[in-house]
Symmetry: D3
Subunit: 280 residues, 6 copies
Amino acid sequence: MTQLDLKSIEPIIEFALKEDIGNGDITTDSLIPQEARTTATMTAKADGIVAGLEVAEMVFRKLDSKTVWQTFVSDGQPVSKGDLIAKVEGSFRALLTGERTALNFLQRMSGIATATSVFVNSIKDLKTKILDTRKTVPCLRLLDKYAVAAGGGTNHRIGLFDMVMIKDNHIKVAGNITNAVNGIRPKISNAIKIEVETTTLEEVQEAIAAGADIIMLDNMDNVTMAKAVALIAGRAKVEASGNMTLERLRKVAETGVDFISIGALTHSVTAMDISMNIEI
Amino acid sequence: MTQLDLKSIEPIIEFALKEDIGNGDITTDSLIPQEARTTATMTAKADGIVAGLEVAEMVFRKLDSKTVWQTFVSDGQPVSKGDLIAKVEGSFRALLTGERTALNFLQRMSGIATATSVFVNSIKDLKTKILDTRKTVPCLRLLDKYAVAAGGGTNHRIGLFDMVMIKDNHIKVAGNITNAVNGIRPKISNAIKIEVETTTLEEVQEAIAAGADIIMLDNMDNVTMAKAVALIAGRAKVEASGNMTLERLRKVAETGVDFISIGALTHSVTAMDISMNIEI
Amino acid sequence: MTQLDLKSIEPIIEFALKEDIGNGDITTDSLIPQEARTTATMTAKADGIVAGLEVAEMVFRKLDSKTVWQTFVSDGQPVSKGDLIAKVEGSFRALLTGERTALNFLQRMSGIATATSVFVNSIKDLKTKILDTRKTVPCLRLLDKYAVAAGGGTNHRIGLFDMVMIKDNHIKVAGNITNAVNGIRPKISNAIKIEVETTTLEEVQEAIAAGADIIMLDNMDNVTMAKAVALIAGRAKVEASGNMTLERLRKVAETGVDFISIGALTHSVTAMDISMNIEI
Amino acid sequence: MTQLDLKSIEPIIEFALKEDIGNGDITTDSLIPQEARTTATMTAKADGIVAGLEVAEMVFRKLDSKTVWQTFVSDGQPVSKGDLIAKVEGSFRALLTGERTALNFLQRMSGIATATSVFVNSIKDLKTKILDTRKTVPCLRLLDKYAVAAGGGTNHRIGLFDMVMIKDNHIKVAGNITNAVNGIRPKISNAIKIEVETTTLEEVQEAIAAGADIIMLDNMDNVTMAKAVALIAGRAKVEASGNMTLERLRKVAETGVDFISIGALTHSVTAMDISMNIEI
Amino acid sequence: MTQLDLKSIEPIIEFALKEDIGNGDITTDSLIPQEARTTATMTAKADGIVAGLEVAEMVFRKLDSKTVWQTFVSDGQPVSKGDLIAKVEGSFRALLTGERTALNFLQRMSGIATATSVFVNSIKDLKTKILDTRKTVPCLRLLDKYAVAAGGGTNHRIGLFDMVMIKDNHIKVAGNITNAVNGIRPKISNAIKIEVETTTLEEVQEAIAAGADIIMLDNMDNVTMAKAVALIAGRAKVEASGNMTLERLRKVAETGVDFISIGALTHSVTAMDISMNIEI
Amino acid sequence: MTQLDLKSIEPIIEFALKEDIGNGDITTDSLIPQEARTTATMTAKADGIVAGLEVAEMVFRKLDSKTVWQTFVSDGQPVSKGDLIAKVEGSFRALLTGERTALNFLQRMSGIATATSVFVNSIKDLKTKILDTRKTVPCLRLLDKYAVAAGGGTNHRIGLFDMVMIKDNHIKVAGNITNAVNGIRPKISNAIKIEVETTTLEEVQEAIAAGADIIMLDNMDNVTMAKAVALIAGRAKVEASGNMTLERLRKVAETGVDFISIGALTHSVTAMDISMNIEI
């Protein structure tokens, strides 16, 4: 599973705390003694896959560097309703002030991991991998993608910068797939892969000839996809894309594609129910 | 309806663009001439309430300051599947590079507005207002709350800094509600309101006596809430909170509370389906 | 007394140190060994009320995280000429380099607290509170307001964002007070108070009817103010404003207003004389 | 007169606006139409020397880039009570929102310039120059020093970085003045001047021999200062420092020192009374 | 040729100007009227390949947004001693203040392009490409790599983030190449290429089997490299690395490797002599 | 020797690490356990003068705050090929990830120090000092200048802000040297030195009369320089500038100038060969 790059998400956590706390949690700072410490537990209120434990931890650590954080499950593991997820001991103020932000992260990320795992498990006997997309919540790209990986999914490119993805509009401007691929190669470093979006078998053929590293089959029916996979014959990786519901998933995977990408994993998330209880 | 504070959301948009674009949209920058310009349209693919048009506009304007942005509907207005929402003319590169980020914002915000409007409309003949909560997606607090307002909801406090909210844990530490309110008053400016969370009529009585500006009725049954409203008798505003489903909403509103707060408006959002088509 | 939000003032202290130190205290860094440590004392050279001890401490701690800071008086307490205020043990370089910045903060803040306490004490047998204003030194708003609170004053709104203040120009544009209040209410969250500025009893009457939370009596004579207080009869808080000299203060307070605001507390400050002596 | 470095003060102005406006001027933004424009005038309510006009202008320009700013006097020029200082035409919102911040800057800076000019004028027939010190308000060093220059004063070093100033504590650690000067010279670039603080004629003699560029006479009586000036005989510049009141100033200047430095110019400032009136 | 990402280099240019200008070019700002404008020319004082024209332009534009910049050659093109490279018309102050920074960029970048072109030209009849390395000057990675591309070279990965490079130490920890490749694959997105460093033909064989995208031949003699190329037989790209002098280059290229990487292109640069003359 | 201002170079090191690491060293983070620690040695592969040890240390410390750094030589000291320079014990990941950045700094800085020492040593029996210039690599000004000092050179002004340097273009605009010096003096603080560039003995005479602190002899022949030194007679410091090769250096120094400035020290640097070996 992808590792979480804590350095990169630090500004996200700081921003989230800032938007909630602003110039101070006026209630807590006025009523709770600065030196008071206490303990709180986080408990699953529904079945699911946990993701974001380190993020929740960092929320509290940002507020109190002496926080003691103990987990009873790891990111990517299943929990049942009622299971203890984590225990946090620290500044009473920090626990009260950070509670909502920590839960906002943890519940969303666990929601994504839970949904992803349903898709992954439905085809786990096949070689096809579930991919995420760039349809993530703005500012949370890295966290959304990490949560997908925690749910057993595979990450697609992070953004527009780490892989070439030649789509229909690019092809139209370039004239054809061959022109597009040849036009781009001398302008990129030798580290960059090229993926080409195709909608017909003719385009698939042209993408193979142009030397694409990955070929996307966009909104094709299952039969055409199977033909495309046969045509490509291992010369490039194959991604299926477009309206991939849970119902249709298995049939698509059985065409032999390497990847199926699903936007709903991150664009429409149901938060997993998790509660935090503070001991007094 | 609340106005969108464009200055405050500018860093959010910049961050969102940065996470997607990084050091550059290598595909588009390699294939589309820098000076090329074109036009695109945004169209509703489902019925709903639009929100976030200025955010989408700013995404494109950040990439091309000469973008021409034209809207056919305003934030907070309903659209039907197939309706034209906006037209954008600008740098071809900017349109391709900004498309996903603009849609990620617009689809989430419209999703929130759409869901909120369902709750609001179900009790629109009553005086009770629908409130949002702090259960927003981290970093998008201001946008989530704006979208709730666009859907007809009323904004609760922005965060921990702009209103005192005395909750159960605060009360336990202070000893009782009276101590909590009296302990906090000399420590805050004269601009700050005080809300007190209550779970019984005795606590409601104590909150009234302590001079709370707003009293929250937390997880009370409808009969108790009606008694609380009668007891308060206009001496404070009243907020109902806890498991407020659409089914139960009307009965709660009929108890006479001023506000009903609903976390799901922002913590579990279904993106509204909106597409962008580029003319070539 | 308001607590000092150390997180918020950290950038102020860093900026102040940066403007003084730039790329380095070339004298001290060249002559004092890096590892040398020493002790210094801060002593009152005049009678007054101390404020800003934590700020001075943070100045030294920013330069040497191992600074040992010991205080002999708390913010808000009176000192007499010659009294020892604080003792600081730390890096010799840090003490020399930070001395002027620490004193610049401490002397200004103690000057504000001292002046405020004179006003507060002159009416301490009455219920009226002394309020500060937004006439603070740019960038030091939070520190100036904290110093007022240390001197026994009450803080007014922090800025333009945390309370509605409807002034003459706003009223003129809106047409009248009623229009102004009604125009603003649907646009703000339920956390925000509304204050209305009035200059006549008619306006006071209108402000009451519109449901203002606070009514400002601007530049009224004492008799009119007394009438206004009677008219309002507890339905809103009352603030007196305009040319409030020490001489006039008591008479104004005796009209029964809740607050008297005084700009000179922060716009024309005489630094309190405090010296720092380093042991060698 | 020193020029104002607008680039350097830009972050100061932005910080000042941010602390006052936060997430928005909720009153003005709710009541004044975004596109409304109007005119305001700034008028002296007392005699004095104006300073800070470009700062006030930048305040409004930050809020509305299309502001038209017209001045009737320049920084450093005298005005009489009732004189028109400036006229500003721009966004109605920007004028209301920026008014207090613009005045806070302008009134403080004009207050400094006014006080400085009194000192400068009292010895204007002599060659001695009035110097400022590092006793400025934290974060406003550049503005305070600019205001001193506007009042006819001469700027001393900006901070700890742009000149060597060897003070008593440095000398004690180094052993004597000679050691201190020799110890520092190989560690600094050839651009840096060296000033040495002295309290006796013996120290003055040693500072001359060590090759100091400037010699400070600290808290000496007038007779000793005259002897020091004679002893130095042009081999270094001479600065008198310590308790320099207006009464004593002329006598000190007549000893022949090049500079007299005065902390009170900036540490205890009385704001000049200036008002802003908006046309409606 | 790679395009220069102006957005990414903007902070570099701002930092460079800041370190040179600090709080202001005190000489120029004191002597040259703010509104004065003039023209300057940049001329080659030696033969070479120009690179960095847009960087030099941005230096001046940062100082004066109305700069008119005219070039007589493009990045990557050869110039002879005496050739006019560019003409810049703008604020007199901006030209004087920006001159050194603009030349510092332009001379270094042109120096890199010039040296690269010598290597590239010596094997231009062969298919082998010249690669740069990560041995660039800290903070100028993007500019150094752009200059290599301007000289006809091909860019290797930008840094540690955009390609997997499994080196000897990684292999030792993993046990062998197979373990290393298999250990890394599930942890990365599908956008990332894998390069493996090898020193023997056995390692080459293992890297092929593990499915490496690129195989580096590190410090092999020419005969072994030729055998490695034959062994790989197109199943991966091949990079030769280690002590690649101009003398040896052709023989290495003739082994059939796809890439030869050369650290000296960027770690030991001789600035190209370019002068700037201002018309007065 | 100048001390290295670690605070000022911290952002440079952070930027350098960021440009290399981006969102993570994907190879090392995937293959090396987070808790693994190891040791590495840095060894000279050529004779030279070391500079930049604290910079290299900070690179590793930024990646692992628990790094143990041990040096066997100090900045400014000579090493021979094969000498052990430093030993670093720390996180295995940190050593692998930081290796290239640490070496990029250390090799460049040692290269500068080595070249400088050759110039310095060739005239070490004379009083003349070797000066650096502003021809440094953008963003590395402070490091380049520190490395010159480590090689025995003397630092000239840091940038355009810390000394007045009146050059030919300034003189032309002002009319003559006298006008230029007199025009600038009232606009600067009393901390700033004035240097004047001259090309003839007449100009030297005028610069003396105007009271310049330093006089630059630009591109004069050796005989004229000797005459200029005699003419100045100690009334100002003297700097020789323009095409100062190692061959010509001694003759120039023998004219009696105080300083000779050499741009090539920093604009054309050959990295010193230093290697890092990690123990496994």
